[in-house]
């Protein structure tokens, strides 16, 4: 008589099975991560957090597709190299601005081509920008946000008066327009590829960046080959492999084994350790990434500015830097970080830690013991940050409960003023211009002002809106800086819809034989690898 397996029998983990599972898990965890042999071609391996394989520039796919790959295979009219405060020429070799600051004429470089050989001229550039503006364009993706990032309703139109001149007409001056044109969603698309693939251009993307796409394996890797027609010359490293390695531990293991050359995804906690390892170099960059605590100005006790001020005074930012970022961050001033135009040392008073003053304000407002909820993302540095901030606020006498949510749920509640009270907010700099932190976040009509902080209803908002518009329109750099200094002070002193919590950067780890990696850009997600080279 043989015993038949009873498939209806309940599952029961035997000791042997348990041991096997434990052993297998350990073996997988310890497997060295390997990239395939590169056949003697000089290759750089870069870690991606994810890869969909859709390089549609006018909609958001993810940091892997929309920023890291896009920056490496595409380029726009201008280029922000993060070494200079102002954008540099890229596909446009020069530009002129009309006296009233509303008309920009860009001269397109002569003799350039896209990766598919199509010449780059003004009509080709115009085709890309028309796709942003024309809602009936058959090649346009359903969720196209590119025009909003260029200034939205302020953009009057585009023209190509001749073969080498591309023109942007604005309704009112925008001093940040050159910076906006350096964003990864402002890259120029080959019109030939656009006509051939229409809405599926993201799956067959052709532009004019330093590398061209050789092969794409979604969720795994994209292989890029150096483009010899790039406006700055052919990159020295012939091949870039952008490999999906989402786990920080796997990245560090790969880095130690030289299977990975560049990553900006390692945790702050590991910077010192990696720096001490032979063959690895850590490049720290300017702190362009800001973490803020948004306070819903319509939610219960937060409607009282004294409570918002108390919260701002009660955050122990030194503890945040020490415990959540292991010292790899800085105490901010207010909205504008020290690395950007518009910062002044006097802003540091807006981030002072004074729990006694905070408690006094809470007593005065009758909010001692008030219950508040805080929403935070549940990945990256956010849970650590959440724990320190929650502790700080509870030490004041508030009762703060933090909910750690996945990205989708978090964003759903963040953009709904009825679904949150306190919320964390991140702002990085795709181009370091002070307007990037004001008009998209704190101007009436934006999701930031209307939903995240709900500050649009405050009596001071009209003045803030006017100040934002005036600062962005100011052409004189010194005067513009001063206007942003005042803007920071006004918002902190009169409104306090957000508390600046910390400014940080993404630590960039590279193998020691690699030079020329743009760490400042990588520290705020931008990925410019064309100047990278291996030491002789």
């Amino acid at each position: 008589m043989t015993r038949m397996k009873d498939f209806n029998a309940p599952t029961n983990m035997s000791r042997r099975r348990f041991g096997q599972m434990l052993g297998l898990t350990g073996a997988i965890a310890m497997l060295p991560w390997k990239v395939e042999a590169q056949g003697g071609v000089q290759t750089l391996v870069f870690a991606l957090p994810g890869l969909v394989g859709n390089f549609e520039p006018h909609t958001w796919v993810g940091f892997g597709d929309t920023v890291h790959v896009m920056d490496t295979v595409a380029r726009g009219l201008t280029h922000m190299d993060f070494a200079n405060p102002l954008p540099r020429p890229a596909i446009a070799e020069s530009w002129t601005v009309s006296e009233d600051g509303t008309v920009y004429d860009f001269t397109i470089r002569d003799g350039l081509t896209f990766h598919d050989g199509t010449p780059i001229d003004a009509p080709a550039v115009l085709r890309t920008f028309q796709r942003m503006k024309d809602e009936d364009d058959p090649t346009r993706p359903e969720l196209s946000f590119a025009l909003d990032n260029l200034g939205g309703p302020n953009v009057d139109g585009f023209e190509a008066p001749d073969a080498r001149t591309f023109r942007i007409n604005l309704l009112q001056p925008d001093a940040a327009i050159l910076g906006r044109l350096s964003r990864p969603d402002m890259v120029i698309i080959s019109p030939t590829a656009l006509e051939a693939h229409g809405k599926e251009i993201g799956l067959n993307f052709v532009s004019c960046g330093p590398y061209r796409i050789s092969s794409v394996t979604p969720n795994e890797r994209v292989v890029l080959e150096a483009f010899d027609g790039f406006y700055k010359g052919t990159p020295e490293i012939q091949r870039v492999v952008m490999q999906v390695i989402p786990e920080a531990v796997a990245q560090m293991t790969a880095l130690a084994a030289s299977d990975l050359n560049v990553t900006n995804l390692i945790p702050h906690s590991n910077v010192d350790r990696l720096e001490a390892m032979e063959g690895i170099r850590i490049e720290e960059s300017a702190a362009f990434i800001s973490a803020m605590l948004a306070m819903n100005c319509e939610a219960g006790p937060l409607a009282d500015i004294r409570v918002r001020r108390a919260i701002n005074l009660g955050i122990d930012r030194e503890a945040v830097v020490r415990e959540a970022f292991f010292g790899k961050a800085e105490v901010p001033g207010y909205i504008t970080p020290a690395a950007e135009q518009g910062y002044a040392p006097e802003h540091q008073r807006h981030s002072e830690y004074d729990p006694d003053a905070a408690r006094a304000l809470l007593e005065e407002a009758g909010a001692m013991g008030a219950e508040l909820s805080l929403i935070s993302e549940n990945s990256g540095f956010w849970p650590r940050l959440g724990q320190v901030v929650e502790r700080s606020l509870n030490d004041l006498g508030l009762v703060v409960t933090t909910e750690y949510l996945d990205g989708g749920t978090f964003n759903g509640r963040l953009f709904d003023k009825t679904a949150h009270e306190l919320a964390f907010l991140q702002r990085s700099a795709f181009f370091p211009d002070p307007d990037g932190r004001f008009s998209p976040l704190f101007q009436t009509g934006t999701a930031g002002a209307d939903q995240i902080t709900a500050q649009s209803g405050l009596p001071e908002q009209a003045q803030l809106d006017a100040m934002i518009i005036a600062a962005n329109a100011e052409g004189d750099p010194e005067r513009r800086t001063q206007l942003y200094v005042e803007l920071n002070n006004f918002m902190a002193d009169e409104m306090m819809p957000v508390a600046a919590v910390v400014n940080t950067f993404l630590p960039v780890a590279v193998t020691a034989d690699l030079e020329g990696v743009n760490a400042n850009a990588l520290g705020t997600y931008r990925t410019f690898l064309e100047d990278a080279r291996y030491a002789a």
Partner: protein
């Protein structure tokens, strides 16, 4: 042809009256460990040296630091205190979910097994649907719908374990319902509910309890996995699965941050699994002709 039956395990036997042999002592080890964990969790407020959510030292103090025998975590919280308190949610979830799954799944299976083929068929197909989801995915779905909390985590793990008990109870109940004593009760005109409760249920409860012991280990691992994914107890409250996650990024700097809670989970799951195996073995011996 080789007989595929495994030899029945030897019964526990004292070498002499009142004395235990080495094999018996070895069999006691998992019970001692599991009981130790339960006691440690219960007595955590008394034996933990510090408040588990308070910063009491510098971040990441190493093992055997004066005053912090297991060091401190990345925030400066005492690691031993967090481990002791972290046992509590793991035990609550693993034991609570198994009890819940045992009660609900047991009743469900009992009704299905005794009720006959049409109701039985419908009820078991419903179980099939739940079972078609991987256990962890079923639990994640429940937590996604209800939100992350200790109660919901217990519920989620219970849902993932429920089909196991439903199937076992149904198999046992249908077997018992066909036996003479049940048939006699039916012939005597007893109501089906009475037959279920008074006749069949007492005869299936023991194997269900044995199964429950075995499943506690799986429930503990499922609970730890869900906490690791951030679907368990909210930080800063200590939770072993989340402590593994927090410690993971420090694996090259302070490996004990992830290894210690991981080890506690593994030892507890192993101990409970061994206990379950022993009960299963004892039951097999008891059932041997």
């Amino acid at each position: 042809m080789a007989n595929s039956f495994a030899a029945p395990p030897k019964p526990v036997a004292a070498t002499r009256r009142g004395r235990l042999g080495p094999a018996d002592v070895l069999r006691l080890v998992p019970w001692v460990i599991a009981t130790g964990f339960v006691l440690a969790a219960l007595l955590a407020p008394l034996i933990a040296p510090y408040d588990p959510i308070e910063n009491v030292g510098m971040p990441m103090m190493p093992l055997f630091t004066d005053g912090h025998v297991l060091g401190t975590d990345g925030f400066g919280r005492d690691q031993l205190s967090r481990l002791l308190y972290g046992l509590r949610p793991m035990l609550v979830v693993s034991l609570g979910s198994v009890v819940l799954a045992l009660v609900v799944g047991g009743i469900y299976g009992l009704v299905s097994g005794v009720s006959g083929w049409r109701i039985d068929w419908v009820m078991m197909r419903a179980v099939d649907i739940v079972m078609s989801f991987p256990l962890i995915l079923a639990a994640i779905l429940v937590l996604a719908a209800l939100g992350a909390s200790l109660v919901n985590l217990t519920l989620a793990v219970a849902v993932s374990q429920l089909p196991i008990f439903a199937r076992l109870a149904r198999a046992l109940a249908s077997g018992e319902a066909a036996r003479d004593y049940a048939m006699a009760a039916r012939a005597a005109g007893f109501a089906p509910i009475r037959i279920m409760v008074r006749e069949v249920a007492p005869n299936i409860i023991r194997p269900l309890l044995v199964q429950a012991t075995s499943v506690v280990a799986v429930a503990a691992l499922t609970a730890a996995a869900l906490s690791y994914l951030g679907l368990g107890v909210r930080p800063p409250a200590p939770d072993l699965g989340y402590m593994v996650k927090e410690g993971q990024e420090l694996i090259f700097i302070a490996p004990e941050q992830a290894l210690l809670p991981g080890l506690v989970i593994a030892i507890f799951a192993l101990a409970v699994s061994f206990c379950g195996d022993q009960l299963g073995d004892d039951r097999a011996v008891g059932m041997a002709p």
